[in-house]
Symmetry: C2
């Protein structure tokens, strides 16, 4: 008998028929003798519908109230799934973020989980119930509803699995595992049977939408084995595990891309110490995550700084940057949403030089201009013009990923 945490995304619970499909899978697993905690997202489209409703009022609703609004999405799903299971004769009980409680900090719309209380869940499991947990949401120390940001349900699931010391956290998505790159872009893409937390982290952070990055960090920290698989069949997916549990290490495991970032440039800043601190300090205060950063000094001692944020944060970031740039005496603030980031990821890079050089060469051969570069131990990322995304992914995949692993 295992303790299994399952997470079903918005597509898997998109209507009552799909919820019934999820309930059948849960019931089968429960009948096989496992204890189950099921974390669910909002029904697909619902969160977007709620956001649109708020945007009819203003394009800058307060984060606190947006969390109150959006948290209703998952609450609807947990009730419907619990009702479906009970109707099948499977004892079930739904729990919202505040009922468990899953406590977070107060960074609304991108809160971080602090602790997951297990008492109430243990009692429910002991009484033989399947627990249905609202993903994506928590409660802060002041009793305010918080949400974890897009994809936060993955993090909820892993955090719950970690707190309960579950045997596995199964993440059900609309794809059947983690691929070497997006199969829609590249028909030679292959499914990986195993991948390390670190590789998955880099793949997640560069835009492979399979798992939310914080969920993988959480899993790595608490050594929670993740099994990424599809809810539409019983086929094995991809296991995300400790590096020692992955198989032979290849140079590059995957090629990822992200079209969800925007570039901001602050140009012509009189160079003096503390410019970066002024700019990024203000952004951090507003919980805006900055990804890549480039700073250089042009002639005349003027500095220019370019960085990327998510497209969703762009308006807010420009609001913050405006006054700071003025204060610093900057000549211009410019932004560009027509960019994409492509990355190659693999733990094998640690012991192999030349991956970056090969990547630039492959892109240059196709006439793709590299606008920004960032590297880590196991990743090289390049920002390019958005229109070259598909081309870049395809040529990088062909260059780095062997047809049969």
């Amino acid at each position: 008998m295992a303790l299994v945490v399952q997470k079903y995304g918005g597509t898997s619970v998109g209507d009552v028929e799909r919820i019934a499909n999820v309930a059948s899978k849960v019931a089968k697993r429960k009948a096989a003798g496992d204890d189950l905690v099921v974390v669910v997202s909002a029904m697909s489209g619902q969160t977007d519908g709620l956001i649109k409703l708020a945007q009819k009022i203003t394009d800058r609703p307060s984060d606190r109230e947006m969390d109150v609004l959006m948290a209703t999405g998952e609450q609807v799903t947990i009730a419907l799934l619990a009702i479906t299971l009970e109707n099948m004769g499977v004892p079930a009980v739904s729990m919202t973020g505040w009922q468990i409680p899953i406590t977070t900090d107060s960074a609304h719309m991108k809160a971080r989980i602090g602790a997951v209380e297990t008492k109430r869940m243990r009692e429910a499991l002991d009484s033989g119930k399947v627990i249905i947990v609202a993903g994506f949401q928590g409660v802060d120390g002041g009793g305010n509803i918080t949400t974890l940001g897009r994809g936060g349900s993955d993090t909820s699931a892993v955090a719950v699995a970690a707190a309960l010391k579950a045997d596995v956290c199964e993440i059900y998505t609309d794809v059947d595992g983690v691929y070497t790159t997006d199969p829609n872009l590249c028909r030679t893409a292959r499914k990986l049977s195993r991948i390390s937390y670190d590789e998955m982290l880099e793949l997640a952070s560069v835009g492979a939408k399979v798992l939310q990055i914080r969920s993988v960090e959480f899993a790595k920290k608490h050594k929670v084995p993740i099994h990424v698989r599809t809810s539409f069949s019983d086929v094995e997916g991809t296991w995300v595990v400790d590096e020692e549990n992955t198989m032979e290490q290849v140079l590059v495991s995957g090629v990822a891309f992200d079209r969800n970032e925007a570039k901001i440039s602050v140009r012509g800043v009189p160079d003096r110490p503390g410019i970066a601190a002024a700019v990024f300090g203000e952004l951090a205060k507003r919980s805006i995550v900055v990804d890549m950063i480039i700073q250089d000094i042009a002639e005349g001692g003027k500095a220019s700084m370019t960085f990327t944020v998510t497209k969703a944060d762009l308006t807010k970031a420009l609001d913050v940057i405006g006054p700071v740039a003025k204060e610093l005496g900057a000549e211009e603030v410019a932004s560009d949403t027509g960019i994409a980031k492509v990355s190659v990821v693999g733990v094998g890079m640690r012991s192999h030089a030349g991956v970056a050089a090969k990547m630039f060469e492959v892109l240059a051969r196709e006439g793709v201009n590299v606008l920004m570069i960032s590297t880590s131990e196991i990743k090289v990322s390049c920002v390019i013009e958005e229109k070259y995304t598909e081309l870049a992914v395809r040529v990088l995949h062909d260059a780095f990923i062997l047809p049969v692993r």
Copy 2:
């Protein structure tokens, strides 16, 4: 400066434009110097939509999960109204039932309010904020979400007003006050400027949909003045107040009707003590409210019992009654949804005999058969065939209500 609790129903907050209208009214009142707590219902249609979703799964969803589901409706509204007010520059904060908290018993879908904590609300009011409260919902001692039943937002508003010792509880509806009867049925219906709690109680309990009955009980107990008015204009509505504050007492204040009940008959029960206790004890255990009751003994010592429940409770009531009837040796259980209840209400009845007699006479003259009768100090109700509802209301209104009061 007054402390005002306002309650807006589903129609008043039916879309973002109407929410903006509500926000304007709130902002104006706030600018005039009053402190405001605004209780809102779910956007019209939303609760029904959620119920339909659950009914796609089963026609007997568990009450606990239905509450989890339905409570999302009001949560959406409070977020949208708070966002709208903040966008107008009016500081606002939303609060769900559990955040205040409004604690209730555990009778899901028809919970009763035990206490309303004021600490969090006081702090928000002291900091100059308008508080937006989710009506209809609370939380029980075990941390489970509860709802108060249809129209429960009125009760939420009055309970909040009582707890905060507010100067007035304004209930905004789609009608502009309390009428002598439904103006849609009877064109001589008139708006009352004042009505006593007791009269309003009887009118509410017999189906005038303006105010929920428990809200009036609450208001009477805590002496909260209620002002029933429309959100679509600034016209004065009807004040519901202590009897000593009403004007001259008339014989009959209003004629009400209710098409929302169903009749159940248990026939041919061998007469022995405890029959009624057996039947109604089981119903009470399941929190099914029984309205009118008739019991009589036919020849042969067989008893028959007829009573009414809401149509919504009919299936559940029949489920409960089936085994009980069998155990009692009853010959038949029959139910009828084609009934209506018409009532005449007025504090003046206390000192005037003959109201009941006149009522039966008026109905008989029109050929309307009276199926059940129930009376109180200030009310006479008759159950009739549903098809006669409009006719009965019209002739009773003409017979009892003077054209000019």
